[in-house]
């Protein structure tokens, strides 16, 4: 076998050997790619973790994974637009994918203590059913969940603002179908979820009290716990079993503008991820190009003993692919390890908290963890593809154009 006719295997072996003949250069290449890979994996882990935090915050605390209500209430959340009846509830509970269904009666209210008053949105619930569709009952840090009418559960921050303590009475005022109504309710639980809008605004009352206050004898909606990731499909599948004037809304629809904002953020994030890969690939290419310039004499020699320029270019490209692959694997190991650590330790929560109220409106909690997905390895592999492409485009083409006689004279 001559260098002229070197087989792919031989060429690969040659490229591999060359890597270790220039260890410092190879190490630099590996480091650049490993750094880009770690960054890419972490970038996507943080991005997806944050999105999941928003979705969980909204699905399990602020809203519901899916909600059945009237289109009128969806447009104008006023108890007067509530459900005409709850007869459909039993049938909905038996539908595939529906894990639990809980009626809710939400209404605007003014909540008063002996010291001050604050506006809030109260949620009338069946205590046992609510625990199956919402995480709020499990986030009660002091006291307990509602057990009977005459009780109220407040967000901890709201209770602090009102200076209302466990066992004390607060007054809820509202005006709906029953006209102006007010009830004094005893505080039995304080919610500390770490999600600012929840801790600041939660007012849970018994469904019976909500009915007395509003005059609505049904509910404003039925919250559903459905299989995660299947919200849209299940909401659509429920439509045929619902009365004509009702609709099932999935989380994306319930999030409204926030959902499209998340979508926009995802696409812009993908663009930023591409830029990461592009810069990493350019860094690799420039290193390879410098390497090619430094090895001009070596390439001239190889050409002189019979290796054609095309094969030389292939060898350069293979060297690039090998070095970036090693960097990719090293980066994946370190990146996924770091990502796993950040998925178990609340490193991001304090970082996002330092931005103050900017993220609170999204419904994120004080604990934000990274997400894990094998697809991040593919995103990071984009660096290798781009690096290979650029090395074909620039250093390999340069090698192809080399004149062995001239190259050998290069110092």
């Amino acid at each position: 076998m001559t260098l002229k006719n070197a087989s792919a295997t031989a060429l690969s072996r040659l490229a591999w050997r060359n890597l270790w003949r220039h260890r410092r250069r190879t190490l630099l290449l590996v480091l650049v790619v490993a750094y880009a890979t770690i960054t890419t994996v972490l970038f996507w882990g943080v991005q997806d973790g944050f999105t999941q935090s928003v979705q969980i915050g909204n699905a399990r605390f602020l809203s519901a994974p899916a909600l059945i209500t009237t289109p009128q209430y969806f447009e104008d959340p006023d108890p007067e637009q509530g459900l005409p009846s709850l007869d459909f509830l039993a049938q909905v509970q038996t539908q595939p994918g529906v894990n639990a269904a809980a009626p809710r009666l939400e209404f605007p209210t003014l909540i008063r203590s002996a010291y001050t008053a604050d506006a809030a949105r109260a949620r009338g619930v069946e205590p046992l059913l609510e625990a199956r569709v919402s995480n709020i009952p499990t986030a009660i840090a002091q006291g307990r969940m509602l057990e009977k009418s005459g009780e109220v559960v407040l967000g901890r921050q709201l209770a602090e603002r009102l200076d209302a303590r466990l066992g004390e009475r607060v007054v809820l005022d509202t005006s709906a179908l029953a006209g102006p109504q007010a009830l004094g309710l005893q505080v039995v639980g304080l919610v500390d979820s770490g999600i600012a809008p929840v801790d600041r605004g939660t007012v849970l009352v018994h469904l019976e009290d909500a009915r007395v206050l509003t005059g609505l004898q049904t509910a404003t909606g039925v919250a559903l716990d459905v299989t995660r990731g299947q919200e849209a499909r299940i909401a659509e599948a429920l439509q045929p079993v619902l009365p004509q004037n009702l609709r099932a809304y999935d989380l994306t629809q319930l999030l409204g503008g926030l959902s499209s904002a998340i979508g926009t953020k995802q696409s812009s994030t993908f663009f930023i991820g591409m830029i990461f890969s592009l810069f990493a690939a350019l860094a690799v290419t420039s290193t390879v190009l410098v390497s090619v310039l430094e090895r001009t004499r070596e390439f001239g020699m190889m050409g002189a003993i019979g290796m054609n320029p095309h094969r030389l270019a292939q060898m350069i490209t293979l060297e690039t692919v090998f070095a970036t692959s090693i960097g990719w694997v090293v980066g994946l190991i370190l990146g996924y390890a770091l990502n796993l650590w950040m998925a178990t330790q609340n490193v991001l929560g304090p970082v996002f908290a330092s931005y103050g109220g900017a993220f609170e409106i999204l419904g994120t909690g004080s604990e934000i963890y990274t997400a894990q997905s094998p697809v991040y390895a593919l995103y990071a592999a984009l660096t290798i593809v781009l690096a290979a492409f650029f090395s074909i485009l620039i250093p390999a083409r340069r090698v192809q154009r080399l004149n062995p006689a001239e190259a050998m004279r290069t110092e």
Binding site: L110, R112, S113, A114, Y115, A117, A119, G150, G167, E168, R169, V170, V171, L172, D173, T174, S175, G179, P180, Q181, A182, L183, G184, L185
Partner: protein
């Protein structure tokens, strides 16, 4: 004096006698005195704050129970504002917007013209509706009632202590306590006038006990009690155009 008047007098005395033993009846008698029945009057509202004092002059008509219409006459920048309370419904007329705005039910407990008074203090019988009365002390001249909230009553207070002068159950002081036993608000009454056998306090002072220097005094003048207030005075038209 004809027989009918004698009968009314006897019934009145009976009711006073039973009020002495029935705390709820005593409470009703005190609130009756506090409201004074139907009235047409000028009201001077002085709002004192640590750094300033503001005075409002209002014209008020009330049926003495659940309905009242108040219109600001001075200062000039506030003049024309009017407030109509009919039961739990409170409406405001804004002369700048020339619009009638309905206050949410929470308006009942809102501050009236930035003072320490709420709309509930101006009209209504919340003390009777929301509390159960108990006589905690009684002498020949005074009676003290301790009011505790009824179950689910819409009041954030832990208790209310009400002092009245005997005979006639003339209100002297109402002390509101939070649910930790701390006094948070005090309403004192002074300068009484006799109105159809009732002693109506024409001077009321409200103090926020949690914020020193926050005080509001209300003084009635040019009053006419027991007058017939037309139904048309408690309408949106009267709110806009006057009564």
């Amino acid at each position: 004096m004809n027989v009918r008047l004698w009968l009314l007098l006897i019934l009145g005395l009976c009711s006073l006698g039973s009020a002495a033993t029935d705390p709820q009846a005593v409470l009703k008698a005190i609130v009756d005195n506090q409201r004074g029945g139907s009235v047409r009057a000028t009201l001077t509202l002085s709002v004192t704050r640590p750094d300033r004092q503001t005075q409002y002059v209002l014209e008020v008509v009330s049926d003495g129970n659940q309905r009242a219409l108040s219109r600001v006459k001075a200062p000039a920048r506030e003049a024309g504002q009017a407030f109509l309370r009919v039961g739990d419904n409170i409406q405001i007329y804004n002369p700048t917007l020339k619009r009638v705005l309905r206050l949410p039910p929470s308006g009942r407990s809102d501050s009236f013209l930035g003072s320490d008074l709420s709309y509930s203090d101006l009209a209504g019988r919340d003390l009777e509706q929301d509390f159960t009365a108990r006589i905690s002390a009684e002498t020949a001249d005074n009676i003290t009632l301790e009011l505790t909230p009824r179950p689910q009553a819409p009041t954030p207070y832990g208790k209310v202590v009400l002092q009245a002068r005997k005979p006639g159950f003339v209100p002297r002081e109402v002390l509101f306590f939070d649910q930790r036993g701390q006094a948070v608000r005090k309403i004192s009454f002074a300068q009484y006038v006799e109105v159809s056998g009732r002693s109506f306090p024409v001077q009321t002072t409200v103090e926020d006990l949690l914020r020193p220097g926050h005080r509001t005094s209300v003084i009635y003048s040019d009053y006419q009690f027991g007058v017939n207030i037309p139904e048309s005075c408690f309408t949106v038209r009267a709110l806009e155009a006057g009564c």
